[in-house]
């Protein structure tokens, strides 16, 4: 029987779309050629974070976090959710001014946050190096293990999961690598960085990120700690960057990021970037070198030219919706993305005004 919806990609975004579309009573088929949550979803930090780079970004992340609260209440222990909060750390007075700006933004938008002076910062995170200017804590941010969240969403949605490789996705049909054609009412391209491989013309390019995870050191850090230089580095549209970004997994493991490399298509560890990333982290956490690293790995995140995700109908392919291009914000933004796609499909008012994320901005007929 022809499915109402055909989703390509069972990462966190495709899985959230499957869950929301199933709630509409639609028959959903998800096609994934690897493990559920095994692509960029497994190579993200699983940081659920409110961002304030723009009103649109704030709306997307804040709406997502509200939805995540409902999800994690129902998800199994294996999702390892922890409301550890985000600590934005300021190295100097310029970054402290940015912390204050963020604090004001949060206050104006009803998000809890708390400024820390250097003494409070050192008490909050004793392993941070001395001499920092202070920081800002957002206590309602959290972390989770996203592959398990994606698996739960697929299971709970009752969507059908097909293990197959899609060679091409066009309009209302998918052509599998073996030539099989699957027709559907609508399609959703949620294939992450591979979205343009199956539907040429989607303006998404891979951005490689690398991660290192350590053995368990409970209490070594308590918050997801991110340097305030992060935003200016991350949003540089091209080139390479690293930023101090570390996370205390619920089990005590320390996850160390982050790096970005544009246009790299392979999964090998890039030793130069890995080293830059680790040295940046060690500047902030001088005791980090002694911690035992268990694993280094990489992922390819889907980046767009303007840094905003692509969520909504894709005018080039009538019948197709896009849910990709989230780059480093895919885990956070997955829930609102799924809801938005369902809102558009059901033709109901969207959860928030997400015009800024409509793919039509990138479509030039």
């Amino acid at each position: 029987m022809k499915p109402d919806v055909l989703i390509v990609g069972a990462g966190i975004v495709g899985s959230a779309c499957a869950w929301e579309l199933s709630q509409l009573g639609l028959r959903v088929l998800v096609i994934e050629d690897e493990a559920v949550g095994g692509g960029a979803t497994a190579a993200g930090m699983g940081h659920l974070v409110v961002l304030d780079g723009s009103e649109a970004e704030f709306e997307l992340s804040a709406a997502s976090l509200r939805l995540w609260d409902q999800f994690v209440a129902r998800m199994p222990e294996g999702v390892e959710y922890s409301r550890c909060g985000t600590l934005w750390v300021a190295a100097d007075q310029e970054e402290m001014a940015e912390a204050q700006r963020k604090h004001n933004f949060c206050a104006a938008h009803g998000v809890r946050s708390e400024m820390l002076d250097p003494v409070q910062l050192a008490e909050t995170e004793p392993n941070l190096c001395p001499g920092l200017a202070g920081g800002l804590v957002l206590p309602d941010d959290g972390i989770l293990f996203a592959p398990v969240a994606a698996q739960w969403m697929i299971r709970d949605s009752k969507a059908e999961l097909l293990r197959a490789t899609v060679a091409r996705l066009e309009g209302r049909r998918a052509i599998l690598a073996d030539g099989t054609v699957i027709e559907a009412g609508i399609t959703v391209n949620a294939a992450g960085a591979r979205a343009p491989h199956i539907t040429p013309g989607i303006p998404v390019t891979p951005r490689k990120g690398q991660l290192v995870i350590t053995d368990r050191y409970p209490g070594f850090i308590r918050h997801e700690i991110v340097e305030l230089g992060y935003l200016k580095l991350a949003h540089a549209a091209s080139g390479e960057s690293v930023a101090f970004n570390v996370q205390p997994r619920k089990n005590g493991q320390v996850l160390v990021g982050s790096s970005r490399q544009h246009g790299v298509k392979t999964h090998e560890i890039d030793r130069h970037m890995l080293e830059r990333m680790l040295r940046r982290a060690i500047e902030y956490l001088p005791a980090l070198p002694q911690l035992a690293a268990i694993r280094c790995w990489t992922g390819l995140r889907p980046a767009t030219p303007d840094g905003r995700a692509l969520v909504g109908p894709w005018p080039a392919q009538p019948g197709m919706y896009l849910a990709t291009g989230h780059e480093g914000l895919g885990i956070t933004a997955a829930t609102a993305t799924g809801r938005l796609i369902a809102d558009y499909v059901a033709n109901r008012p969207p959860i928030f005004d997400a015009t800024a994320f409509l793919p039509e901005r990138c479509f030039h007929a």
Binding site: D215, Q290, A292
Partner: protein, 85 residues
């Protein structure tokens, strides 16, 4: 006869020899719980050859070292997460 040295396990002296691995010295001192698993089950060396990682302890401040792969040194400080019985 190998000369006797002293290592310290959670600050308590334990006799050893320079030819003895830290794992063997702990076992000889009657210490059977080297660490606890995530569900807090007691664990001790399994493979004896640096593979299973069950014997890892903190040595001279460095955490996560395999005691079965480390020879005792005079004055070495070994820290277990639990006080030895």
């Amino acid at each position: 006869m190998p000369s006797t040295i002293t290592i310290f396990v959670n600050s308590k002296p334990v006799p050893a020899t320079p030819e003895t691995t830290v794992a063997a010295a702990l076992l000889n001192a009657g210490i059977t719980t080297f660490r606890h698993s995530p569900r807090h089950e007691p664990r001790s060396p399994l493979c004896g050859m640096g593979i299973c990682m069950e014997c890892r302890v903190t040595i001279d401040g460095v955490p996560g070292l395999r005691s079965c792969q480390t020879l005792c040194r005079e004055g070495m400080q070994v820290q277990l997460e639990v006080e030895p019985a």
